[in-house]
């Protein structure tokens, strides 16, 4: 609302009076005029204060060797030393895994992935080419290729995978399983009429427990000596076998615990999204005689896809940081089989090797950012655009 313009030059008294009466309005107007900044400023300022200094400081640490001493700390600049140690130095086996010569299946996979990526890039270049778009896709492709090479040189050729490979396993296998089960439960729950509130609260329970607590709960659950399934375990003839001594079994148990904890998150958000899908659309589909699969694919999925993409992005980011469960359930064992990257950094940090901890964290950051930016640009934004259209 505009302040009424005085028609003629007012006397002094009038000005004072109108100013006094307009003061609250003026303040409201000031707020309103600057609303576009006032809305976003608190969040941005807080994040800036809390992110810039720690980010820069930890980046400095990643390039240094730090020692805490009385009343001070000493920092020695070591260049890329900390990163070199992880990628090519004494920590390579720990970080990347035991690199061996490619086996035939590894060659097949590498060539297949390379061909796929090339096909994707060429396809993009032919249709809608921009410099930034191409650059972004090149980085994405390079990262995917590098990860494929790493997996081919370790897992597919019979070598040990390092903490990077283990983390990727947790992220991709874990998140896929969680998404499928979470979506399935949300769909089921949105279909039923009675007891929905009950299931919603019950399914949400695991998320309420502190992650450390979940680690301990699952350590109890998975104890094959005195845990609740011990009898079943013995009866199945597995008395002499321990999941904690087998790398893949141990990783699987961690994924089970992680899923127990995080499926509720996906479930709740997707259920909220499903419930906001307009009912008339679905009913119209039913009247037209569409099968439930068709209704899901043509009506429901496009409606919930943007939320699903957001939820998965958040979940993937958290999954890259998985640390409490392997730390408590196996402490990274057997050997280094269940050690995630964050746990790797955490161990270094606990032993006060701050430089290594920061270097590992930044390598993790790099992988996560490239993968998440790709996911965001290629999936989330596209879903949102489809929704807007």
């Amino acid at each position: 609302m505009a302040v009424p313009q005085p028609a003629a030059r007012p006397s002094r008294v009038e000005v004072t009076a109108s100013l006094a009466s307009a003061a609250p309005l003026a303040r409201g107007e000031w707020l309103d005029r600057h609303a576009r900044w006032l809305f976003i400023a608190p969040a941005v300022v807080m994040i800036l204060i809390f992110s810039i200094f720690p980010l820069v400081a930890s980046l400095l640490i990643a390039f240094s060797r730090v020692r805490l001493r009385a009343g001070t700390y000493s920092m020695t600049f070591v260049g890329f030393g900390n990163f070199e140690k992880q990628l090519v130095g004494s920590e390579q086996v720990h970080f990347l895994g035991q690199l061996t010569a490619f086996s035939p299946p590894a060659w097949v996979v590498v060539i297949a992935v390379a061909a796929l990526l090339l096909w994707w890039l060429v396809g993009y270049a032919r249709t809608q080419l921009t410099v930034i778009g191409l650059l972004g896709r090149l980085v994405t492709a390079a990262m995917l290729m590098a990860l494929t090479l790493m997996l081919a040189a370790t897992l597919l050729s019979g070598g040990q995978i390092g903490t990077l490979g283990v983390t990727l396993f947790y992220v991709f296998v874990g998140c896929a399983v969680q998404f499928l089960i979470g979506l399935g439960l949300a769909l089921l729950c949105s279909q039923i009429t009675r007891g929905r509130a009950f299931f919603r609260v019950v399914f949400f329970l695991p998320l309420m427990i502190t992650p450390i607590g979940i680690g301990y709960i699952f350590r109890m659950m998975a104890d094959t000596g005195k845990g609740p399934f011990a009898t079943l375990w013995q009866w199945a003839g597995l008395g002499g076998f321990s999941w904690s001594a087998d790398p893949w079994a141990a990783r699987l148990i961690i994924v089970v615990a992680d899923s127990w904890q995080w499926i509720p998150f996906i479930f709740v958000v997707l259920l909220a999204a499903l419930e906001s899908v307009p009912r008339d659309l679905v009913e119209a589909g039913e009247v037209d005689g569409a099968s439930s699969w068709q209704i899901f694919r043509e009506i429901t999925w496009p409606e919930i896809a943007p939320v699903a993409a957001t939820v998965m992005l958040i979940r993937v980011i958290e999954a890259f940081k998985l640390v409490d469960l392997p730390n408590i359930m196996t402490a990274g064992g057997p050997g280094t089989a269940t050690e995630s990257l964050t746990l790797h950094a955490f161990f270094a940090w606990r032993s006060l090797d701050l430089g290594q901890a920061a270097a590992v964290s930044y390598l993790l950051l790099f992988v996560t950012v490239v993968l998440c930016v790709s996911f965001f640009n290629l999936v989330v934004l596209r879903r949102r655009a489809a929704m807007a259209r």
Partner: protein, 497 residues
């Protein structure tokens, strides 16, 4: 930070109180009235519980208030170091692992307590067992820590199981393996299920590496505590890539065959639970099993358990060649009946250290409190109680059976248990834990990880030892070889080389 101003206010109050105390003789018996001691340790009841109880007594006596705060064990060192090195100084005293003392001392964070100890006649410093008096409490000849708990590992065995088998308690590791093999699969607690010959904690990033060091010490160290088990004391070359450590790794791996199937994921808590449930014929542990075994709410093995000094060996490392050689009187001067024992002060025990930056009056009061904890009148009772987590470190604690019998031990078991403790503590060949800067990295990262990988079959023993050698050299280079050598020698009671 409000804490400091509060403490400051209290100190002002204390000054007035002291002034009053001079004026009014009634208050003279409470020298530290108004002083607040902020103590940080690991959560109770273990360790912290007794500190709180004794703290209340201490307040009664001296007027100083003892505020006990706790953080989880695994994060304690980080927390203390950060608080003191960044100048936050919200903590006056911490009761922590003696393994961290040298690193804190090296960073210049610890108050020198030598003068206090010299003037303290209640402490009865000569009664403290030599290893704890000379190595655990001192760095560079200065007393900077006060022991409240003595930690070293012993071997426990089931008297009934070994009796049935007609076997004597193990003297060497060959004996140990033989007994474990014979006992494995027998039912030891009457539930009809087969039990285990040997229980050892092997979980990663837990206590697994203490067991391997306990084992290796037997083969590496034969010439007394000052020899050490980790590095060459002339040039800091790791003494790890040799037949002695290889043998220790072999035995460690071999015991897995006679243990529970998920032993690789057992930390000491899991192992103790099994021992107390009567499922293990033998176990390696600190002194705690003794008092814990007589507590019938958690134990099924009361009066069925015995203890001996850590099994030893007749073949020890020749430091020149890296090979194992037979013991002779010259090579193994401390051998008992030809068997070399090197009881390992794993972890070293809980000790109190005082912030050098604390107020002098607070330092004085804090010393008085730590001394109170350590004095025989208090500690000789505390060590007989299982839940305190305190284990013996004084000579009078294992020479006098009576307090133990009063605490509920049978006389026979008390004598057996105290003999094992005495044998260990009196041994001039006691092996000390590593106590130099970067200890957590040498042990907790490199040794622990390679050990776990070896057990999981990711690497062979030779590769693991080679990796440890290289990893340790890398850490030494990073911290500075000269500096590390100086401190390593200091921690072994040796002067400059």
């Amino acid at each position: 930070m409000r804490n400091r101003t509060l403490a400051g206010g209290l100190l002002g109050g204390a000054a007035i109180a002291v002034a009053l105390a001079v004026a009014t003789p009634v208050r003279a018996d409470k020298p530290y009235d108004g002083v607040t001691i902020n103590l940080l340790t690991r959560p109770g009841p273990v360790i912290a519980g007794r500190l709180e109880e004794r703290g209340r007594e201490f307040t009664e006596m001296t007027g100083a208030k003892v505020e006990v705060a706790t953080v989880p064990f695994a994060d304690l060192f980080q927390k203390v170091l950060t608080d003191w090195s960044t100048g936050t100084n919200s903590i006056d005293v911490s009761v922590l692992s003696s393994g961290w003392v040298v690193e804190l001392y090296d960073a210049g964070l610890l108050a020198d307590l030598s003068d206090f100890v010299a003037k303290d006649d209640k402490l009865k410093v000569d009664d403290i067992a030599p290893y704890f008096r000379e190595f655990n409490q001192k760095v560079d000849g200065k007393t900077v820590a006060i022991t409240v708990d003595g930690d070293f590992q012993m071997m426990y065995y089931r008297t009934d199981v070994l009796g049935e088998l007609g076997m004597a308690p193990p003297r060497t590791w060959d004996d140990y393996l033989a007994i474990a093999k014979a006992a494995h699969g027998k039912d030891m607690n009457g539930d009809g299920e087969p039990d285990y010959g040997s229980c050892m904690f092997k979980k990663r990033n837990a206590q697994g590496y203490y067991a391997i060091m306990s084992l290796a010490a037997q083969f590496v160290q034969s010439k007394g505590t000052s020899q050490g088990i980790f590095f060459n004391t002339d040039d800091m070359t790791p003494m790890v890539n040799n037949e002695a450590w290889a043998k220790a790794f072999e035995i460690y791996k071999a015991t897995t065959e006679f243990g529970p199937p998920d032993e690789l994921n057992h930390d000491i808590g899991d192992t103790r639970a099994l021992v107390l449930a009567g499922r293990c014929a033998m176990a390696l542990d600190w002194g705690d099993i003794g008092p814990l075994s007589i507590d019938e709410t958690s134990s099924k093995i009361k009066d069925k358990v015995g203890a001996v000094i850590m099994p030893g060996t007749t073949r020890v490392l020749d430091w020149e060649t890296g090979k194992l050689v037979d013991c002779t009187a010259e090579i193994c001067p401390h051998a008992i009946d030809g068997v070399n024992h090197a009881p390992f002060a794993a972890f070293g025990g809980w000790t109190g250290v005082i912030n050098a930056k604390a107020d002098p009056k607070v330092i004085e009061a804090t010393y008085a409190f730590l001394s109170y904890m350590n004095q025989p009148e208090q500690s000789n009772i505390d060590v007989t109680i299982g839940w305190t987590g305190y284990n013996p470190y004084r000579i009078s604690q294992f020479e006098n059976v009576e307090p133990w019998v009063e605490a509920g031990f049978s006389r026979e078991f008390a004598e057996n248990y105290l003999k094992a403790i005495g044998d260990s503590l009196n041994s001039p060949n006691m092996a000390g834990d590593l106590r130099i800067p970067g200890t957590q990295r040498y042990q907790g990262i490199v040794l622990d990880r390679e050990l776990a990988r070896m057990l999981a079959g990711e690497v062979t023993i030779e590769q693991a030892l080679q990796n440890i050698h290289e990893g340790w050299e890398e850490i030494t280079e990073e911290f500075g070889r000269e500096e590390q050598l100086k401190l390593y020698r200091a921690s072994l009671g040796l002067g400059a080389s």
